[in-house]
């Protein structure tokens, strides 16, 4: 149960980090353009992640001899960054339409949750299958409706 709470908190914290990331990327995009800002953020993010990987392996020391070799990941496991980078382009198009920034963000959140439901149900991309229960729909409704109030209730 403690492990679950930790996972839950980590997921929430990653949302805070996402908000900070978007805040700074937005600032950079104001001075340049969205694709350039995302390009710079990906480059610096790769550098930061590389430092994390190296410092972690230093801290933990070399892997023990008995450790089994890690299973091999299929090539497409490495390509998550492609759709990730593509979102910047899609968002830039939608924001410039009559949806504006608020409408685009709201619809993106709805799309994410719908994908999550379908993905859990079918186990898309080899993710673990998880049965969606009534409480899940209520949670989704509350989070999305609350988010819409936050997005459009700004002024």
């Amino acid at each position: 149960m403690i492990g679950r709470s930790r996972d839950w908190l980590l997921a929430f914290t990653s949302g805070i980090l996402l908000a900070l990331m978007l805040n700074y990327n937005g600032l950079l995009a104001k001075h340049t353009m969205p694709i350039f800002a995302s390009w710079a953020a990906h480059g610096l993010g790769a550098f930061a992640a590389f430092v994390l990987v190296v410092s972690c392996s230093r801290l933990l020391g070399p892997p023990s001899k008995e450790a089994q070799p890690p299973p091999k990941a299929p090539l497409w496991y490495y390509l998550g960054g492609v759709p990730g980078a593509f979102t910047v382009i899609l968002a830039a198009i939608a924001v410039n339409s009559s949806l504006a920034l608020s409408g685009t963000i709201a619809l993106m959140l709805v799309g994410q949750v719908l994908f999550g439901i379908v993905s859990d149900h079918f186990g898309l991309f080899r993710t673990p299958k998880r049965r969606i229960v009534a409480a899940d729909f209520l949670a989704a409704l509350l989070v999305l409706a609350g988010s819409v109030l936050i997005i459009f209730g700004r002024a």
Binding site: A11, F12, T13, I16, H31, A46, I93, A135, V143, I150
Partner: protein, 149 residues
């Protein structure tokens, strides 16, 4: 208009896809390496896009140095959700990331513009908090078959 609505919804689907794939990579390589691959592959892809779309001339003139901090937050953001995604499932991760993002947005606006949140926003935060609590209630015993460790 309908086209743009579909495009924005599709964007959310693409975000979910990225997370699912990075989550799977982290089960093999661990979260930090998954974050590294996500960023380096995205960087190469965007480099090509900038050549195709011709965005180089826009250069980063005049942007303050701290505007480049986004990438560092991004490295941790990707590592963190990649670690929990195979454990919580895509839907719960989506809801919790959105909750963190939305509540932070309210606090950041308050901090940056010194305008207290409106009643609508306050109600929104309360609803998000209740929704987060509901994700804890929605137990999922089927998940146990997944971890081979």
């Amino acid at each position: 208009m309908a086209l743009y609505i579909i495009l924005a919804l599709l964007n959310g689907v693409v975000v979910g896809t990225t997370r699912a794939i990075n989550g799977q990579l982290s089960t093999v390589l661990g979260p930090f390496k998954a974050s590294f691959w996500n960023h380096i592959v995205g960087f190469v892809f965007l480099t090509l896009m900038l050549f195709v779309l011709g965005g180089w001339k826009s250069g980063a003139s005049g942007a303050p140095l701290y505007a480049y901090l986004g990438g560092f937050f991004g490295a941790f953001y990707v590592a963190m959700y990649s670690y929990v995604l195979p454990r919580l499932g895509g839907m719960k991760v989506a809801l919790l990331v959105i909750s963190g993002q939305m509540i932070s947005a309210v606090l950041m606006d308050y901090h940056n513009q010194d305008v207290p949140p409106t009643a609508a926003r306050f109600l929104g935060v309360v609803m998000v908090l209740f929704g987060m609590q509901m994700t804890r209630r929605a137990r999922s015993p089927e998940m146990k078959a997944i971890h081979d460790d």
